[in-house]
């Protein structure tokens, strides 16, 4: 296996770091290095899949399906496979991912390591809830099968463990039955944050998938103005053939001017999006259009220019959610940072994943262009609010959190560290994120 040193970044193009890259092409070549982190599709936002001190192991060539039980809906594959590849196989047989993030271009291993969530978290929980088992590759080429019943401690340290307990080699997942490939989508307007919270908490307006989009530029009495978008899979037999589909494949060129997404374009976009979403109250769309709208624009991250952007996603426990999220939005609008994507969603119960992000409450996600260093001061201020209300930020979307804040936000860290030291006493598995947050030692 040859290796190469190349500048590497997460999906948000920040930070960019020179990394030694190794790409195994045979399963048995997937082995620990003295300092390494596995990287699937590089879809995390930040430095979780970077490692300047050692190696980055690309798993993209280890994407083989190993078993598919079409009757039970159980699938086993090498962890480098993407969700798109899995969907291509399972959807024609009437199965779907029990939990899916907002892009199908993530790897299976990455979804486990970040314990990703979807728009159905309030009912279904996160990705880790549907992992039946996985093979964890440790230093010295030890291979450990982990499941909720076998090596359970290692299992729950790895679910959400950001790849720091070992390399996830293969995994077995439980699928959910898919009645049809179409979705019934409904939009409800909300004039402000109070209304959004009322609607999100009301079972009458709830559906299998529920999420709210927030106009982060609205201020004053309009603060938190947005749209609740709910959806469910259309029952079999109710599917219609005249579905509006997007076959357009847009690609954003490599050279995109900095500052393209600014206060003014954000305002325009938000006004347009608000009207667009409200034009039809109930629509039937094909599932990729509902779950993966941005996937139809290749390299949409380039819209943010060379400097990239940061995502800020936090979760606040139920009892403080409203106050905290109001405070966060106020802080953001005061500072005048435009955010294209403001997404608010209710989370259901957490799972036993020791570093897993989701917990019962509300999560807010923001995409903010990185135009200057002052943004980091603002984000530090947001951290303080999140911490004050016992919340936490999402490591898979983090590029700038501080070690002490991380420890305060993740009270289970000492328990996780104990497992980490049992599985990886010499700290072979590390990343730039782990170095920055001093995780693992």
């Amino acid at each position: 296996m040859t290796n190469t040193i190349q500048p590497l970044s997460g999906w948000n193009h920040y930070p960019i770091q020179p990394c030694k890259i190794i790409r195994p092409e045979r399963y048995r070549e997937l082995q620990a290095q003295p300092s390494c982190i596995a990287r699937g599709q590089g879809r995390s936002y930040g430095d979780a899949a970077l490692n300047t001190k050692g190696a980055v192991l690309l798993t993209e060539r280890l994407n083989r399906l190993l078993a598919f039980d079409k009757h039970a809906g159980i699938l086993q594959a090498e962890a480098g496979i993407t969700l798109a590849e899995i969907l291509a196989v399972i959807v024609p047989h009437g199965w779907f991912l029990s939990v899916t993030p907002g892009t199908q271009f993530t790897s299976l291993g990455g979804c486990i390591a970040a314990d990703v969530h979807g728009k159905n978290h309030h009912h279904a929980g996160s990705f880790g809830n549907f992992i039946l088992n996985f093979e964890l590759i440790l230093a010295g080429n030890t291979r450990l099968i982990c499941s909720p019943t076998e090596n359970a401690d290692a299992f729950w340290a790895t679910i959400g463990g950001m790849g720091l307990t070992g390399i996830i080699g293969t995994a077995t997942i439980k699928l959910m039955p898919l009645p049809s490939t179409q979705m019934a989508v409904k939009s409800i307007a909300a004039a402000n944050l109070e209304q959004i919270f009322t609607l999100l908490a009301d079972p009458v307006y709830d559906d299998t998938y529920t999420v709210a989009w927030i106009d982060t530029l609205a201020t004053g009495s309009n603060l938190g103005k947005g749209i609740i978008m709910t959806a469910h899979h259309l029952p079999a037999g109710e599917s219609i053939t005249t579905v509006k589909t997007f076959n357009r494949k847009l690609t954003i060129p490599t050279i995109c001017p900095d500052g393209l997404l600014n206060k003014y374009t954000s305002k325009l976009f938000n006004a347009f999006y608000y009207r667009q979403q409200l034009r039809n109250t109930i629509t039937i769309v094909n599932y990729p259009q509902y779950f993966y709208p941005l996937d139809s624009i290749a390299h949409w991250n380039r819209l943010y220019g060379k400097k990239g952007f940061v995502q800020y996603q936090c979760v606040i426990p139920e009892q403080h959610s409203f106050v905290a999220i109001k405070a966060l939005l106020e802080k953001l609008t005061q500072a005048g940072y435009p955010s294209f994507l403001g997404v608010l969603k209710r989370f259901g119960a957490s799972n036993p994943g020791l570093l897993s992000f989701p917990m019962s409450g509300y999560t807010l996600a923001l995409d903010i262009p990185l135009k200057d260093q002052a943004l980091f001061h603002l984000l530090d201020a947001l951290d303080a609010i999140v911490l004050q209300y016992a919340g936490r930020v999402y490591l898979a979307k983090d590029a700038r959190l501080k070690p002490d804040i991380f420890r305060a936000m993740y009270p289970n860290y000492p328990h996780w560290l104990k497992q980490k030291q049992l599985l990886d006493p010499e700290n072979h598995f590390t990343s730039s994120l782990a170095e920055r947050l001093q995780i693992g030692y």
Binding site: T4, R26, L65, L66, A67, A88
Partner: protein
């Protein structure tokens, strides 16, 4: 009519995996042959789940020329006939100090002698059937000898000539012989080497290989622009070429 299987020789390489997938997408059953049985099993399982086609697997070593006949007989017995064969195996030696002679001979054996040994058997079979195709994966490196990799180039160049002769011989038997000449491909051979920015993905190469049987082309450069790059390289007079550092 049910499609007969395609034999993929050297099935664990990334170009072979992509070619196998491209033929599987078109509904062809496959016979995958390679040395690494553990890896081969994973590849076969993957293809059978993705494309729901029958897959056969067998041990094949290009260097073990004495057992090629037995191997090919076994393939024919198990599959009860083939539609075609894709020869993908190849060997680019690592620079191993003190083992140069050994590495050079291995390069020639795998890339040329081994390929000829097995493809001769395939040629006889398809000629007898009066139908079928033989796809040989050669290389642009075989178009002109360069100091950086002329042993590999010589072996691939010889393979290209062999395929050319075979094409001429089998034309009257209704058997197609296609020479594939990939340039830089993003494979294990190329990973981390300079010039990778020109590299094509194995999926692209595999797709084009599968598509080649529906075209009338005999020699296919992949991607196509390599035809022109190699044309220019071949046109440089030897007097000048010998001084160049390519």
């Amino acid at each position: 009519m049910e499609k007969k299987p395609i034999l993929i020789l050297g099935a664990t390489s990334s170009i072979a995996q992509a070619s196998a997938a491209a033929f599987a997408r078109r509904g062809y059953p496959l016979y995958l042959a390679a040395r690494d049985q553990e890896e081969l099993t994973r590849i076969a399982t993957d293809l059978s789940i993705r494309y729901e086609i029958p897959i056969f697997c067998g041990y094949f070593d290009a260097e073990a020329i004495s057992v090629h006949q037995a191997f090919f007989t076994k393939v024919l017995t198990e599959t009860q006939g083939l539609s075609g064969v894709v020869q993908v195996f190849g060997y680019l030696s690592a620079t191993a100090p003190g083992k140069q002679q050994e590495e050079d001979l291995k390069t020639i054996t795998i890339n040329f002698t081994g390929a000829v040994s097995l493809l001769n058997l395939c040629a006889d079979y398809f000629a007898q059937q009066q139908t079928g195709f033989i796809i040989g994966v050669s290389s642009v490196a075989g178009d002109r000898g360069r100091q950086s990799n002329y042993i590999y180039g010589a072996a691939k160049g010889a393979l290209s000539l062999y395929l050319q002769g075979l094409r001429n011989k089998l034309y009257s038997q209704n058997v197609r012989v296609i020479t594939i000449k990939p340039g830089f491909v993003d494979t294990r051979m190329m990973f981390g080497r300079p010039g990778i920015f020109l590299a094509a993905s194995p999926d692209y190469i595999g797709e084009r290989i599968a598509r080649s049987i529906k075209t009338q082309r005999d020699i296919i450069y992949l991607p196509g622009f390599w035809r022109y790059i190699m044309l220019i390289i071949k046109l440089i007079p030897e007097k000048i070429f010998k001084r160049l550092n390519l």
